[in-house]
Structures are given as C-alpha cells and as structure tokens.
Amino acid sequence: MKFLLEGLGESAGFQKVHPMVNVIFYVLVIVINIFSNDPVFLATAFLCAWFYTVILGGVKTMKINLLITLPVAVMMTAINGFFSHNGATVLFFINNNRITLEAFLFGISSACLCVTVILWLRTFQVIMSADKIIYLFGKIASVLGLTLSMVFRFIPLLKERYREIRMGQQCMGRHGKGSLIQQMRQLTKEISILISWSLEASIETSDSMEARGYGLPHRSQFHLFKFQKSDGRLLFVMLICSVIILPCCVLGYTNCYYYPVVRLKPWSFLKALAYLAYVCLMVVPMILDIRGERKWQQLKSKM
C-alpha cells in the first residue's frame, strides 16, 4: 500500500485501458450518481470517488480535495437551507421565514452529489490523457481531433515564441522599465509581435498541411490504441452492472424524497442488488490499478 503516499498518476492500470472503456465508465458513473439521491448511495459514491483520487494522486491530494469540496459543500447547504422554505420540520424562523430541517438535508445531499461529480472529474483528468481526448473527438469527426491536436501543439509554441520575444526586448533594454503605463505599452507591443509572428508562421504551417494532402476527401484518423480482450471483459462487467442499476434508477429504487418530509425507499431485494452493482462498477478501476501495482511490485522484487 506504499503507492498511496505518492499516488499512481499516469502509471495507473485504468489509464492503459482503451479510451472508449474509460469514457463509458465515466459517463455511467456520473449519470447514475446524478439520478441516485438516496443517502446510502450518495455516501458510497462520495467515498469511492474520494478514495480513487487518493489512489491516483497520493495522500497529498486530499488537501486539494478538501480545498475544492468544502467551500462547495458549505455554500450549497447554506444556500438551500436558508433560501428554500419547503419541508415540514421547522427549526426556527428568520424574518418570518421558515428554516426547515428538510431544506438543510436536501442541501447536504445535493452538495454531496455535486462534490462527488467534481472528484470523479479530477480522476478523469489523470486518466484521460490528451491523446485519448484527441482520439475520442476524432471519433466524432476527424477534423475535431486534428484541431485539438493542433491546439496542443500551438500552446507550447506560443509560450516559446513569447519567451524569445521577451528576451529580444530585454536585450534592447525595454522590458520591466518605466512607469506602469509604459510597461503596459511594452506588453501590448510584445503581444503584437507575438500575434504577427504567429500569423506569418501559420502560413507556412498551412502550406505544409496542403503539401501533405490536407483537404482531400475521406480523411481517416490514425491512433495507437488497441481494443484488447481485457478491454472487452472490462466493458462486459461494466455493462452488466449498469443493466442492473439503470432500470432500478428509472423505477426509483435509488431515490428518496426530501419534501415535505424525508421518505427513504425501504430496502428490498432490487435496491440491494442495485447497490451491489453500483459498488461493483465504481471499484472496477480501483481493482485494476491496485492489481497492476501489485504485479509490478512482485516483478520488481524478482528482478
């Protein structure tokens, strides 16, 4: 469990999975999360998401988790509690307005939902590298994938050019000198150099694209991802889980009512089954990561 200190980051097993599987997982988990406001379901999802950020980012990531989630949670609870006057159990009055227990509870539950989504998205950032995102957009339309790839190329290029321009200006003795207005003027000058330089350079880029046949009909998209058997198995497990949960969601087994009084759905076979499947779905990537790490450690010790 040593890896929990540093986090697995991009070496995580789930990261090496086919991007389609990744994205299906995130869509499922987030959609189910949004339509399940039963406290048990919410709390479990929250814990799973939290634990997954730790697996990927290490213990130190909890500080950032708190920094992001606490303000959101407090704000949402407070706003709903003080501004929504639904609910039967009155706690007290402010300016003749009813402040109810149910409003607070609903606030907490929606805050929990929101925070969980944020935490899932934080892990999404690590799991979905730029390459994967380019691939997925390319699946929608190859031009989209290409555009994204060009953007990822352009940003560091702009930075590099700006660094060079600033250095050139420094060598004329122009940078960081004079009053605020003069410095502002200098900055606009530098940015204007950057823009005209980049526009000029982009003419050459478009030449290079045309020279290599850009614009011919039926453009294809190249990628280095392979859909392997293990990806198929993973997808199968995930789909089985969701086939159980999604109908239960629609039938309301994963929901509860907060107004006018909190009314939980009593535990039944179906609810328990849905809960089990949901947990299964959420721990799939964690199992994959931990198992991968174990194997790696074993191999390393044998070497």
């Binding site: 290029l157 250095m167 060598c171 004329m172 003795g173 050459e204 290599r212 011919l216 294809s220």
Partner: protein, 564 residues
C-alpha cells in the same frame, strides 16, 4: 522520361516589377540528385514551388512544369500530394500536430488510409530514420535537427517519387545539418528517390550531387556536374563563384593561374572532397615541407577592456550540473570577438549572463568598469550594451521598414529633425532605402537581419552582442554583413558574437575562442587560432595544413599556392 521537366518557365509576382523566373528550362532524370544554388531572392524557392501543385505561387506564369510528362497543375490531387514531397526551411512551422507519431501519420490520414496500413508505413519510416526512441514524444521536446528530420520523415511516409527540399538546413547548426543531408543522400541512394534541393552550404552537397543548377536573378546561369561548375563560373567571372565550396574555388582559381590539374587515370578530375584535394596537392607539391609559420606571438598592443567576464559559474538549478564553469573572457574596444562551439556548451547562457538576464552564482561581469547585476541591469541598456537576437522577427512591431526604425528613436529626447536624419542615415548604412515602404515580414532573411541590426544600432550601444548572426544567410550577404561589422568596429564599437560558422569567423574575426564544457579552452587571433586546431577549422585549412598551416581562408590558400 524525365521525372521533372521545366519547359521555358517564366514567372512574375503580381506586384513585382521584374521577373522572378526568366525562361528557365531543364530536366531532372529519375533518381537524380539536383542541387539548386544562388543568392537569396534569386528565384530558387519560386522555381521549386512550381514543382508542387498546391504550392504554386500566384502570379503570371508562362511555360510549363511536367511530372513524368504530365503538367503539374493537371495532376490529380491525390497523386500530387503523395508522389511529390516538399520540405521547407523552418523546422517549427511545418509541424502540425503535437505528437511525433501523429505528425508522421498526418499525410497518410489525409489520403484516408486505414489504421493498419498507416501503422505499418509509419513503423517502417520510423525505423528507416531511426526515430523509434522518440516516437511517442511531444514535438516540443525535440531539438531543431530532430524536428527537421521529423518533417522529412512525415513527407517520406507518403512514398514520394520526387522529393523537393527548399533550404532545409538553413536553420540548423552544422552538425544537425550534416546529419540531415546524409539522410537525404541515403534516401536518394537506397530508395532511388529523385531529389531536388536548394541550399547555401554546398561543401557536403557537392560530393552528393549528380548535377548542380546555378541561378542568378531568375536566370539559369549554369547546369553541370559539380566538378565542372567551379571552372565554368571562374572562366565567366560570374559573381556566383564566391558561393561555391572552398575546394572548388581553390582548384578553379589556381588552375586559372596555371597550376597542374588533378589527374585520375590520365584524365582531369577536379577534386570535390578534402581527401581528393590532398591527393591533388600531393601530386603537385610532393612531400616538400615549408618553413613553419612564424606567428607574432609577441606583445600585442593592449587596448581598453570594455567587457570582462571573470571566473563565472552558473547553473540553472541546484540539482543541475553547472553550465558555466569558471568562464573568463575579455573584450577590447573595437574588437570583433567570435565565440565558437557546439550545441549546448553554454554559449547562449554566456550572452544571457552578460545581459544580466540570469545572474551567475559566483564570479564578476564588468561592463565599461561597472559590475553587471540583475537588479540594475536596466542601467546598462541601451547605452552600453545591446543584443541582436537570433530571430530578427522577435523585434518587429511596425508595418514598414521605416516605421520600424523610427519606433526606436521615438522615445529619445532629441528634436524631430534629428530623429528623422538618424533614421535616414541608418537606412542608407544598412542598404535598406529602397525597401523603406515594405513590410518587415516581406523582407528576405538577410534583409530582416539587416533591419534588426539597424534597429539595435540606433540605440548606439558601446558593446554589441550577436547570437548566430549568420544563420540562414547566403554567402554573398555574409560578405556584406562582415563589411558592416568591420565598419562598426572601426568606429570604436566592440562586438561579441556567438557562432557556429567557422568560415565566417576565420575570415573576419579579430579574435576567436573555442567554447567547451562551460569555459573557453583556447583563444587567439583568427589565423593562429585556426592554424592550431586540427578538426575545428576551415575546409581550406584542413586541405593545406600539412604544407602551410597558416593558410586559413581560401584566398590565402590560393595566394600561397600560386606563390610557390
């Protein structure tokens, strides 16, 4: 049938007065290696662009360019894209995507090939170019030489029959350039691809080329085997002669003066490599040795030291090896000082620390008697110090050449008349008067360089720092640049220049220094400095060092040979 046939092509750009191409005709056979040379602006690029359907410039064109008998403009798009490959100058601007593997696949994606075929072709090319080790890298992490190799590979992956390269090595350092050209040669030899390449640095290309096309002002001056080009141009007293490799120049000039020819099996064969040249000299000079040169190593007249770097140590972070390790350097008034050395040895860091952009961990940098400190760096600018950056574009803000110069003098506290006269003077000095209304980006590389130097000179610095000023310049403008620099040093300006260009430094520098591993390992006046080096010296010196070690420039070699 010729792979490319140019039939009486003339071309005029829409707003230009003269013709960019003037009745040019020639053919390139399949598998041939053709080198196109000439001054910048002589129409080389225009000519090459006419061979690639999508890159033909707008303007008035007469005649036709044929690819295997078919007019290039009538080729099917798919054929035009894949069978004729084009690589241009700038390594950065040609790269489209963010990953090496994606860039390699770009052309094949355009052709709409399936993932399996692309994978196979990309794998083949990556192995051929030995780029497997950086296959999955981000393109930003590559060096300039690697980027240009990637551009070449991503064209080759489309399996072109004709490969056109427009000054592909002008932005590379000599070692990367040499590696690049070797790869081009390998493509020609092992795949039989027809190569058409335009270039300024001809030493290596002359040994690879089947034919050389020399152009001047849009006209074909000569088209011949590389061996015969030198003699031909020398006979015609054509100024293009000065752009040839040193060995060709030496041979042609000395033959003119009546020296014996190089004979192989009883036939004259003008030498192209240093090895052949040495054999030729052995034939005519024999094993005679000549009196060792006497360098006046005696006391030099010491002038004022304007810039002194003493025991400077610098490293970018605590965990990194230092980049500068006890650097010592002193620049005297009116001196042209060249700092030579390979990549990543700390030359640019030296300039940065002199400018106060980075502060050394220990040691002192004194400029005109005052110590440079990062905090007070602005006190030194622009009066005592200024630098011309490697990329002239990083200085241009205005829309005309004239405005560009005016922009510098505008904040100065002098009368308007004086400002205008300063600008006029500078336009005159940099030979830019005719171009005053042009947009800076429409100038050629050499002209941009002149404009950048002009801008910096208006600041009237006492010390001028230059970072690779000869990068991408043709040999003719290098001579002009040398003249400008010489005039400046006569006026009392001191110039410190960082360069890869051995030939330039040997011909024009007052003092040269070799930079290696963070310090200066050898230093001296240009001639004794190069005479003392074995490998890192000019082609002319390598040729003749067994006989006359002090002959460093090709002119001096010719003089000595004729004299003996």
């Amino acid at each position: 049938m010729a792979a490319i046939e140019v039939k009486d092509v003339s071309f005029t750009y829409p707003t230009a007065e003269g013709q960019a191409l003037d009745h040019i005709s020639f053919g390139v056979e399949e598998g041939e290696f053709l080198v196109v040379c000439g001054k910048s602006g002589c129409g080389k690029s225009t000519l090459l662009r006419h061979m690639k359907k999508k890159l033909i410039p707008y303007g008035m064109m007469e005649g036709e360019v044929c690819y295997y008998g078919k007019n290039v403009t009538e080729l099917e798009d798919r054929v035009a894209a894949s069978e004729i490959g084009f690589v241009s100058q700038n390594p950065d601007n040609q790269i489209v995507t963010d990953k090496v593997w994606h860039e390699l696949a770009f052309g094949l994606e355009s052709l709409g090939l399936s993932n399996e075929i692309i994978k196979r072709r990309v794998a083949e090319m990556a192995s051929f170019f030995e780029i497997q080790s950086w296959f999955r890298k981000d393109v930003v992490t590559l060096s300039g030489g690697q980027k240009q190799l990637l551009n070449l590979a991503s064209v080759m992956v489309m399996q072109p029959k004709v490969l056109i390269l427009d000054e592909p090595t002008s932005q590379l350092d000599p070692i990367a350039a040499s590696e690049f050209l070797k790869t081009v040669y390998k493509i020609n030899q092992e795949l039989g691809t027809t190569i058409i390449i335009s270039e300024h640095r001809l030493e290596e290309l002359f040994t690879m080329a089947g034919k050389v096309l020399v152009m001047d002002r849009g006209k074909k001056v000569a088209l011949d085997q590389p061996e015969h080009i030198g003699m031909k141009l020398a006979k015609e007293h054509n100024p293009m002669f000065y752009g040839l490799p040193a060995i060709s120049k030496i041979y042609a000039k000395t033959r003119e003066k009546g020296l014996d020819p190089y004979l192989v099996n009883g036939q004259e064969k003008p030498p192209l490599t240093i090895l052949e040249g040495k054999r030729w000299l052995k034939q005519i000079l024999g094993d005679k040795t000549y009196s060792a040169p006497s360098f006046t190593t005696g006391e030099r007249e010491k002038k004022d030291v304007v810039l002194e770097v003493k025991d400077v140590y610098f490293s970018y972070s605590k965990h990194q090896e230092p980049v500068l390790r006890g650097l010592n350097l002193s620049l005297e008034k009116g001196q042209l000082y060249c700092l030579l050395g390979g990549n990543g040895v700390g030359k640019s860091t030296t300039l940065k620390s002199i400018c106060g952009i980075v502060e050394p961990q220990s040691g002192h940098i004194t400029i005109s008697g005052k110590e440079m400190k990062k905090k007070h760096r602005n006190d030194f600018f622009p009066g005592s110090l200024a630098m011309v950056p490697q990329n002239p574009q990083s200085l241009f803000t205005e829309i005309t050449v004239e405005d560009e110069l005016l922009e510098v003098v505008l904040p100065m506290k002098i009368s308007d008349e004086e400002k205008v006269s300063m600008v006029e003077e500078m336009l005159e000095k940099m030979e830019l008067s005719a171009l005053r209304e042009n947009h800076p980006y429409d100038l050629s590389g050499g002209e941009q360089q002149r404009l950048a130097i002009g801008k910096i000179l208006l600041l009237k610095p006492k010390i001028l720092l230059m970072d690779e000023p000869t990068k991408g310049l043709d040999p003719f403008f290098k001579r002009t640049l040398a003249g400008i620099l010489k005039d400046l040093t006569k006026e009392g300006m001191s110039i410190l220049m960082v360069s890869h260009d051995v030939e330039f430094c040997a011909s024009y520098a007052d003092r040269c220094a070799m930079f290696f591993d963070g310090e200066i390992t050898s230093e001296g006046e240009a001639v004794p400095f190069f005479a003392g080096n074995c490998f890192y010296t000019t082609g002319a010196n390598r040729l003749l060092r067994n006989w006359f070690p002090d002959a460093v420039t090709w002119e001096s070699v010719v003089r000595r040979l004729v004299h003996e």
